[in-house]
Symmetry: C2
Subunit: 319 residues, 2 copies
């Protein structure tokens, strides 16, 4: 049996058909063109799904279910996206709308949770019981799997590890509080520090790399400048990594999972991120011994598709 | 069927026999006299258990199992206390030793987890799926129950929420790191702030209450002085409550449990603690709505006995 997974993001809609072990048989993507009517976006999700079936020469009867991963909060039982600040999917019954277009069981899940499922089913955390997937991008999101199942608390809104305060009264966070991990460990935070530093040190490579156009500086600019040996950039990266590590130490102390996976754009840094983080964790976790494996996501953007596809398998097995 | 529960603490050994719903039928305690040989302490645990059976006119055949709650880290499967810094129970096979004295199945569990089980089985969090029990005393411990079962990570050492950093580079913690929640939210932290303030403000009631003998100041002294309207004490209590709340907000954002229970000596403050904490949480939790109930432990010291007793029931059901 096959499964269809859709990863609905603010920029792209990615979809794929997998076998029952989560191996992608075919995949494709189309721009979300965010800001449109939600119905038009759902039309495109359905059309992309049908295109994949055609390409694979299968029909709806060969597919077990459709799973959709998307940002924001949702009522999974009812299939309703309650609030997704980047997508305008507020109070939209995604499952009902999808079923009007494709006659298959349909499930929705938070995108970080989908990525966690993907890495757990056929990625770097294959077969682990307890894992945490941290996605570092505009914000810091978390997908938590406990005993092989997504954990998001008693009211479906847990897993907000990005909004764990690590610096009381610290930097302002988009959530309205101060000092959240996200305000220090997101790509946005690294970009912020890079821009402040470039303005302060016009001799730094950070400034050079954007020809003084400070608004062009992003997280990668800072990493690139650090790679070139720039002292200012290296200082920022060291501080950034320290803050990423503080949040990870907290999560290890609380969850002691088998694996913590770092995904999102920043994970492209690979060992440059993982090695210093692991070093700090080894020094700082409670009890003095780091048993949790820290690594970057191996499925990359595919984790979202795979995890979404596997929703059909997981949810049907639970019924 | 009946269950025997033992709560082994640094000060007292408390034990009780419960019915199958965790209701205590008889209980008693004896001083731990910490510092003795572990065998002598285990002798007393067994003797206390036998005394309770005699009192209740029952014998070993009426008891299903013995459960022991104790501080520190342990290998629950093997029944070994690995490390308990307040008890000197290092690499002691508590289960084997107990079985030599009482011929019954025996289980060990961390004391904060036992208290969580107790409150979950017949206390304030009766029937909840996800709860967190926070014990505030010398340190800050946590017992986490997820889907009705104790959660302590993949390697048995999770649940160390007290060692979640909330102030990067903040106060020194006993664990060797800086800025842990425990360094701000423990009774020890409140005592520390009370002593500092008393030395600085000899006109404060905190100073008065101990006749200037600053070493006599403990957490209760600060609460008592605050009750008397002392401005300095109220400032410290407000700050203390703010830090307790920061850690709780983090836990709500990550776990969104049905209930967070506050136990330990500080919980004697009742509403004076819960009301301002709940107010802060209502203002600060992610998503803007506090769905988690925050309350003090209702079983008091009995929670440890009940939870330990129920280990026999839980573990046997799992076999």
């Amino acid at each position: 049996m096959m499964y269809l997974g859709i990863d609905l993001g603010g920029t792209n809609i990615s979809a794929g058909i997998t076998d029952e072990n989560g191996n992608i048989l075919v995949k494709a993507s189309t721009p979300t063109m965010n800001g449109r009517e939600t119905e038009d976006i759902i039309d495109d999700m359905a059309e992309l799904s049908k295109r994949l079936m055609t390409e694979l020469k299968v029909s709806e009867k060969d597919i077990e279910a459709v799973g959709i991963g998307m940002p924001g909060t949702m009522d999974k039982k009812k299939g309703i996206s309650l609030y997704a600040n980047n997508l305008n999917f507020n109070n939209v019954n995604v499952v009902d709308e999808m079923k009007k277009r494709i006659d298959l069981p349909c499930y929705i899940e938070n995108d970080a949770n989908c990525a966690a499922i993907g890495e757990n089913v056929c990625g770097v955390a294959y077969g682990n019981k307890n894992i945490i997937y941290i996605t570092i991008g505009t914000g810091v999101g978390a997908g938590i799997i406990i005993n092989g199942k997504v954990f998001d608390g008693s009211f479906g809104g847990g897993g907000e590890a990005g909004h764990m305060v690590i610096v009381a009264e610290g930097e302002e966070c988009t959530c309205g509080r101060k000092g959240c991990w996200e305000a220090y460990a997101s790509a946005t935070a690294l970009r912020r520090e890079g821009r402040i530093a470039a303005a302060k040190y016009p001799n730094s490579k950070i400034y050079d790399l954007v020809d003084g156009n400070i608004k062009l500086i992003d997280a990668k600019t800072v990493f690139d400048a650090a790679d070139m040996g720039d002292e200012v950039a290296n200082g920022i990266v060291d501080m950034y990594i320290k803050y990423v590590a503080i949040g990870l130490v907290n999560l290890v102390n609380i969850f002691q999972p088998e694996t913590i996976i770092i995904g999102g754009g920043v994970c492209a840094q690979g060992d440059k991120l993982i090695k210093p983080i692991t070093k700090i964790l080894n020094e700082r976790v409670y009890g003095g011994e780091l048993k949790t494996k820290i690594c970057v996501a191996t499925l990359g953007n595919d984790a979202g598709i795979v995890g979404a596809a596997m929703l059909g398998k997981i949810n049907r097995e639970e019924i």
